[in-house]
Assembly symmetry: D2
Homo-oligomer: 286 residues x 4
């Protein structure tokens, strides 16, 4: 018997564990597959793949669904789960939710006839995720920088989602914050919020910083720019691979640079799980 | 002789006066027409219309250029300046800047062959202007609300430019801030910044507020919503005409509602003048 | 019959009116004397002096109780109420609360045998009052300064109660805030909160400001200091009489200076009334 | 020859290393004893104990000067340095600065005739140190709490120096902050700054929190209070030994509690070193 208010959580990391618990605490029936050695509260029922998909109306795949395009991303699962026609068939007639589903839907033509939503593409997901990303960056800065962030001179490169939240938090703990952007409109926002503004092309020309956070996925901190940094700042690069820092040159110049990737899942899995849940609920309501 | 670094300021209110002074203090030659009884510093030269346009390469018309479509908006000018072919001819070959130029360019076909830019349409202009608008709204709230804004419960309706700045400032002085929006993405931002969020359709269903700021140009506060407000809040409506409040119903219900229009020019003419200047400089650099 | 949960509110300005309403809304019986033409809600009973004192266990005199030492401070009262033995006798056996009671108790020896508390001396009263004082100062600054406070350079002289709240609010709306103090410990606090610090003896030596707020009751802004201010700032003096600014010299030098006194009662009578109420409740609980 | 502008840095941890570098970068001559394997910049001269004390006018002992009352606190020193008459004699005629010098001056009567100052007792030292302490606490919270601090419900127990800075920073990153205190005046401050207030005796009666920071050196979190915490918060105890949490009961109840001691030196040695330097400079100027 299918329970319309039931959720199957399939694979994934601590975010999926938190997600399963959080949905269960909302009063829904939750089955979880792929967590053999994980201890859940009583409200989450561990089950096999077939049992989970048979019982549940809503199926939640992890973020990312797969890393290699062949198997389900399920680090807590003892066996490898192949992504193929028979896996896809189990999802037929269900509402399926997954994060970064591009590689998944190439694994079987069955997916063409399945209702599947990519919560990773939802704007509110990306915005909410900026919060744990920014906090994770600040945690790294606090750990690696030998002074206090309070009173330090920080540069945030880029005024997109993470840049906005990061600049706001850094000022909130008392840093002197400069934010760089390329567009006049972003510069206007930066000034309205009371930060010091600089065009990205002009960073580090005059000013020196204690900590620099890069959020722009482009090679901003090349050897030329790095060599202008007499004060040897700490650089935290939040841009996805390959990042925005020439890490080799940084090392040669004695500048510590940290490439901080996938922060939400690492530093705040509970928050990251709740963000996925909220996004899925929003999709269901529409 | 034409001076390429010269600016003619034509008509307008205190913003244009501040603009003229500010450009002059940057070292440029400034002529001002339409301010017979205004005392400028030595660096701004008062002149007639022909003299001003003849000498200056850059001509700055006011915001708005005209209110009635017939005459230049020039409250400090003793005579009426008609907008016609001969007025337009004076601008030929110049760089002309104006705010809300729609009605102006209908006054003469000559405008088709003149380089004229509407700074009012620039995004950075609108963003920068959100700052004096928000401050003006707070000034009104401080004056009209018999308690302190610190510690009060404020609702900001809409999370556009003014809503963003206003919410941020209100929290900055210690108000408990709720912000409403219609889109999930905006709700996500509202929560990321630590405000209480509510969908605009659901405002005042449960919560009561001390001060409400409306920034949405739609009839949000109709009789039905107003009648739910048991706590008789102060309402400050920042939406342009006709506004977002049923003012008659508000009055009948004993709710004080203020329609606050054109705040930047009124409360912070110097800031508003500098915003116009910055925008014009940006246009010139491009 | 005496009601132990009854409050008599005697004289005073809008703060006392707000106080009466607020106590009544907490469910207590409230009599008010000295407000002939004031419209109260149903829960506050207007009464004569004898009726009020006869019925009520707790009597609340205004702030200040008297200005001239002869009559009750009662601007809404049609007759003058003399402070003498018979007035004091009406208070016998009651709990009496008043603000700045020094002159009152000199009007009759009867006061020696009456339980009277000066809420004006309570530390939490002074702290709470710093909030409407600071907001009032910001309201004046917003009204008088032709730019926006956001983005302006503000100096707060003194890091006592009002200085602390004021600096915090100014930064909260986006000003660049410098705070001056005399003691190393205060300088340490100023820096911890992320403001720029300066010793009061050194203000205006190098830096220029757009708006200056003085909270120190000493002649800080004498002619010598004023003449160093090339940028002609707006000065708002919050120090009690005679204030901390040489107003005559300021005028001669073209510097606008505003002496802002008794702000809480003027700008936020409702808040000021609630602060008195909270303080009296605290005294009663002890 | 004695150089009046010379500083000898004797023993200590990373704070003293940062201190030595920072004084040297101000242009003073700096000798450092007790750091055999530490690499200093060129401006700091490593030297033996006699050489350092002979050359330098100002001698800086570590914080604490000694832990056991017998030897200098010098973790980077290869030999143990005994605190006795001959050690004290080396300091004669110098300006000596140390942190927590109580046990030191009991090691020799020679100290009675030496100018020694305890920078640890200076108020500005304690205030400045609240900043790295608060940041260290937040770093721990970010690391240990599986959600984000942004959006979490935090309780700060105590509104002393660390409590003030901590509450301010927590709100600055978007937490919902409640602060507890015992005195009405502190409650007034808590409310003025816009936090939720609660008397320390009443904490956790109704409200539940995600993260609790204790700054009060008293057994606040005994078994009785801990057993009321249904939400199993993370508790970070900043109170010095023995702390303010019954750690055993916490563990039995499944509540994670971290005793975070000596944070400034651990999380921000550079900042902590600069705070010592600033304090010593202040003493020297007086």
């Amino acid at each position: 018997m299918i329970d319309i208010n039931s959720f199957g959580v399939l694979g994934g990391d601590k975010r999926q564990i938190a997600l399963a618990e959080s949905i269960a605490s909302d009063g829904y029936t939750v089955y979880a597959f792929g967590f053999e050695n994980v201890e859940f509260s009583r409200d989450v029922k561990k089950a096999g793949l077939e049992e989970t998909t048979a019982h549940c109306e809503n199926l939640i795949l992890p973020l990312p669904v797969t890393t290699n395009g062949l198997h389900l991303n399920a680090p807590y699962c003892q066996e490898k789960v192949e992504l193929n026609d028979s896996f896809a068939e189990l999802m037929r007639g269900k509402q399926v939710y997954g994060g970064m589903i591009g590689k998944l839907i190439q694994t079987s033509e069955v997916w063409d006839s399945i209702d599947i939503y990519d919560y990773y593409n939802r704007e509110e997901f990306t915005i909410h995720n900026a919060v744990p990303a920014a906090e994770g960056a600040i945690e790294i800065a606090m750990r690696e920088y030998p002074g206090t962030i309070n009173g330090s001179k920080c540069l945030v490169v880029g005024f997109g989602r993470i840049g906005k939240v990061l600049a706001w938090m850094l000022r909130g703990i008392g840093a002197a914050v400069t934010v760089s952007a390329r567009k006049h409109a972003d510069i206007a926002w930066i000034e309205a919020y009371g930060y010091t503004s600089v065009f990205t092309d002009n960073i580090c020309e005059k000013e020196q910083y204690d900590v620099i956070f890069n959020t722009v996925p482009a090679m901003i901190f090349n050897r030329r720019i790095l060599s202008k940094m007499h004060a040897k700042p700490l650089i935290i690069d939040l841009a996805s691979q390959p990042g925005g820092v020439d890490f080799e040159s940084a090392e040669n110049l004695g500048i510590k640079a940290v490439h901080a990737l996938s922060l939400p899942g690492k530093v705040a899995p509970k928050a990251a799980g709740e963000i996925i849940k909220t996004t899925i609920y929003n999709i269901m309501e529409e």
